[in-house]
Amino acid sequence: MGAPFTDIEIAAAPFDPEAAHADFRRRVDGAGAIVAFTGLVRGKTGDGEDVSRLTLQHYPGFTEKEITRIVSKASVRWPLVGSRIIHRTGDLESGEPIVFVATASIHRRAAFEAADFLMDYLKADAPFWKKETRGDNAMWIEPRAEDLIDKARWRDSEGDANARDQRDS
C-alpha cells in the first residue's frame, strides 16, 4: 500500500455522489472496505420549520487548505488507501447532496472510523458559512454545541483507535 491519495473538491454546482463513489472505487485498488457518507439538505430545521434555501459560502484557497489539514489528521490516525471529499457551496435546494466523504482502507473499522472522524471535524472546523432562508427570512447559522461534542469524541482515544486498526476487516 503506497501513500494514501486524497481528493478534495469544492463544488459550486450540484454533484453526483454515485459518480464520485464509482470513481473512488476504481482508484482504491487493494482496499477491502469503502465507507461513504452523503449529506443531504433537509427541507426542515430542527424545530420543523420549512427551509426554502440553504446558501453556503467558502473562502477559496483557505477552505481547501483547512480541509486538507483535517484529512491529514485522519491519514495519520488510520491506515487509509484513499479518501475523497466533495463539498458544495452556493445555493442548495432541499434534497440536494451537500457533502460527500468517502474513505477506503484494507479493514472496515479504519474506514468507518476515518469517515466518521472526517465528518465530525468538517462539521466543527471546515470554513463554511451557511445562510438559511425561511420564507422572507434569511439567517446565518452558527456552530452548534453538538458539533463540538462530536469532534471531542476523538480526543482521548488515540491509542485505542490505533490498536483497533490492526485487526482484520
Binding site: Q57, Y59, H87, K123, K130
Partner: protein, 81 residues
Amino acid sequence: MARILFFGRLSDFAEAIEAPLPDGVRDTDALTAWLSRENARLGEALARPGVRVIVNNAFISAPLELSDTDEIAFTSPLSGG
C-alpha cells in the same frame, strides 16, 4: 495592494476591498477600528462575539502587524461543513 475579505454575516455588510491599507493602519486592530468607523453596520457586526481574523490563510490569535501585500479575512463564526 492589501486584500480585505468578509465572510458569513459580515459579508452582508461589506464587499471585498483591494486597495493599499488606509493611512495609519499598521495592524489588524487598527484595521478593524478603521472599518468600523467607515461602516457603522459592519462595525456592529465586527463587535459581535466569535468574529475571527485570518491573515494570509492563518487564523490569528493576537493583533498582527499588516503590510500592503497581506490578505486579511474577517469572518463571523463558521457554520462548519
